[in-house]
């Protein structure tokens, strides 16, 4: 297996490095020449207007879609140049919270969280049950173990999906539009939860969102994708970009178009 692992030199802080990435569906290029680094323990936000390819970039980062060209590196290891077994191992370190939750509707919340634990660890049933109730209590859903996803509200579904995403103590957590469809208070609580996970567990967190409130509350760094030029036009700290970016498009976006 060692022979198939392709290692590239990256910044020692870098957890995920995106190098010269071009994303395309067939001949249709979504974004080209993406170059940015996500540092270990950072909360990194992928932002941009609707339809610019934010979610597509996320699909590339979680190994669901292969790049048209370029590389995605995790600790210097190129995902798409690795063997399937290595890819599986890299993916084991991911936790993903999908836009609509994507809870399995035929399973209870407890079973949703328990499934990856049962498949990928040697834990006993009793241990799994304890981990499940711990994870559900972390997202404030203690006591909802036996509920089916259809029996709880959208906000609760999102939190349950987060509980499933953190079931295996992932090194990287991905969120697709975590606050979409949530009221401001639930959305704020989810942001606090994301911050808390980073502080307590040192998890690297990658978020796709265009909620400015979230961006300024939680982000350490962002990458800004532009739909028109089909490439990234800025990366860095959002507050710095808002006040000092030389690019008027970035300043406009981060100031809600009010300049």
């Amino acid at each position: 297996m060692e022979a198939t692992t392709v290692l590239y030199e990256t910044d020692p802080d870098a957890h995920i490095s995106v190098q010269d990435l071009t994303m395309a569906y067939g001949d249709f290029v979504i974004q080209r020449d993406l170059n940015f680094t996500i540092r270990r323990g950072d909360i990194f936000i992928i932002m941009g207007g609707s339809g610019c390819g934010k979610s597509t970039l996320l699909r590339h980062l979680i190994g669901l879609k292969a790049p048209a060209s370029g590389r995605v590196l995790y600790d210097g290891i190129s995902y798409w140049e690795s063997s399937p077994a290595d890819q599986q191992r890299i993916k084991r370190g991911f936790g993903m919270s999908f836009q609509s939750g994507a809870l399995w509707s035929s399973l209870t919340l407890a079973e949703n969280v328990a499934l990856p634990l049962g498949e990928y660890t040697d834990l006993t049933a009793a241990d799994i049950a304890e981990v499940v109730s711990l994870k559900l209590s972390l997202v404030g859903l203690s006591g909802f173990e036996e509920f089916y996803p259809s029996e709880i509200s959208g906000g609760m579904q999102k939190r349950a999906a987060l509980a499933r995403a953190i079931a295996l103590d992932p090194a990287i957590l991905f969120f697709d539009e975590p606050s979409a469809g949530l009221d401001p208070i639930s959305s704020r609580r989810l942001d606090d939860l994301i911050l808390e996970l980073r502080v307590s567990l040192g998890t690297t967190i990658v978020v796709v969102t265009h909620e400015l409130a979230s961006i300024f509350t939680i982000a350490d760094n962002v990458v800004f994708l532009d739909a028109e030029t089909r490439t990234m036009i800025a990366t860095g700290n959002p507050k710095t970009l808002r006040d000092e970016s030389p690019d008027p498009r970035v300043r406009r976006f981060l100031n809600r178009g009010e300049i």
């Binding site: 509707s105 035929s106 660890t121 040697d122 834990l123 241990d127 304890e130 981990v131 109730s133 711990l134 994870k135 209590s137 972390l138 404030g140 859903l141 203690s142 006591g143 909802f144 173990e145 036996e146 509920f147 089916y148 996803p149 259809s150 103590d169 939860l193 808390e196 502080v199 307590s200 567990l201 040192g202």
Partner: protein, 375 residues
């Protein structure tokens, strides 16, 4: 090195839990049972403190241990002083205990007793009956609007559905009808040959296929193929709130979705039944000519002699009735669908089962009715 646990008593009423080394989920970890024993045997303990300075690495393994200790402390009404824990673990435990567990949610994982289940099932069936009648009423009203020309639906939708339930079903209807014709002919011929009456294969096949088997087999194929598709389409639309979108915009979903589907099957079923009859009779001819020494012309003559328009009408009427029932069952289950992937699966299954059940009941009633009427 796997996690180490040490219990100390800095003062008689304080239990200090000293944690060391690595507390990972994948390693073996000390169990909290020792703490439970201490708490049980020594009633003078009033608080628990921690010393986690020697912990090298931790994940959920440590947290589930702590969750158990916190729970034990709660049961014995003992104070917890989490200050000595590793910083991250302390914060996670604060988070985990921030929202108290919801109790009395009315959820039980165990099965209710048999009698209760029978009762619940009966009640739900009883409640389903008015729903079905309501749907029947809605569909009837919708047909009324169709006749008056006020029903709202898109003609192009109707055409697409007609194409899907008619021409696209021909290959499977051909295959099944041919094989059924073959079986009827062969089974009958072996018996008839004992009396040297092989020529009556033609009567058996033509009557059997046109009056009964053509309609029945086509009905069952369409229940599995089209009834299921209707339920899955409408069910998924229900999940995506598309049906609600129709309602909100003032469209009647029965007119817009159910009516074209019913209409398509009512138009196509008679044609499919006629087609199935022809294919079945051809299969009978194939058996008679190849295996039982009857010439094509003889078989043709015998078929024409045995056939009457009434047999064809009986088959076509049965087929049309089955078509209405299949579309009704498929659309009913689709419209009743819940809002999850699981529910779509249940709706589809239920549509096929209901459709076939309706067909078999209708087949028996119609056969008796035609018998009584002497048709």
């Amino acid at each position: 090195m796997p996690g180490q646990l040490n219990l100390q008593f800095p003062s008689p009423d304080n239990l200090r839990v000293v944690l060391a080394d690595s507390w990972l989920l994948t390693d073996s970890r000390p169990s909290p049972d020792d703490i439970a024993l201490q708490l049980q045997s020594r009633s003078d303990i009033h608080s628990i403190s921690f010393d986690g300075t020697a912990v090298t690495q931790w994940d959920s393994g440590l947290l589930i241990f702590l969750a158990r200790v916190f729970q034990l402390a709660g049961e014995h009404s003992i104070n917890i002083d989490p200050d000595g824990l590793p910083d991250g673990a302390r914060r996670m435990m604060t988070l985990a205990t921030a929202v108290p567990a919801k109790e009395d949610t009315g959820k039980h994982s165990e099965h209710p007793p048999l009698l209760e289940r029978i009762g619940l099932r009966s009640l739900s069936m009883w409640r389903a009956a008015p729903e079905m009648l309501q749907f029947l009423g809605d569909v009837t009203l919708s047909f009324g609007r169709l006749l008056r020309g006020t029903a709202q639906f898109r003609r192009s939708d109707l055409m697409l559905i007609v194409e899907d339930v008619g021409p696209h079903a021909l290959p499977i209807v051909s295959l099944i009808s041919f094989l059924v014709g073959l079986i009827v002919a062969y089974m009958g011929a072996v018996q008839l040959a004992q009396f040297g009456a092989q020529i009556y294969i033609a009567n058996l096949v033509s009557l059997g296929m046109t009056r009964e088997m053509g309609a029945l087999m086509t009905g069952i194929i369409m229940a599995g193929r089209t009834g299921a598709a209707f339920a899955a389409q409408l069910g998924t639309m229900q999940v995506n709130e598309e049906i609600d979108a129709f309602r909100t915009l003032g469209f009647n979903p029965i007119d817009f979705l159910v009516l074209p589907r019913m209409l398509a099957l009512v138009l196509m079923m008679p044609l499919l039944v006629l087609y199935a009859g022809i294919v079945g009779i051809t299969a009978g001819m194939f058996v008679a000519v190849t295996a039982f020494d009857i010439s094509t012309f003889e078989y043709y003559q015998q078929t024409v002699r045995s056939m009457a328009w009434t047999h064809i009408w009986v088959g076509v009427i049965k087929g049309t009735v089955y078509g209405i029932l299949i579309a009704f069952a498929g659309c009913l289950r689709g419209m009743q669908c819940g809002r999850s992937a699981q529910a779509v699966g249940e709706a589809t299954t239920s549509a096929v089962v209901t459709g076939i059940l309706f067909i078999v009941i209708a087949a028996s009633l119609l056969t008796i009715m035609f018998q009584e009427l002497g048709i």
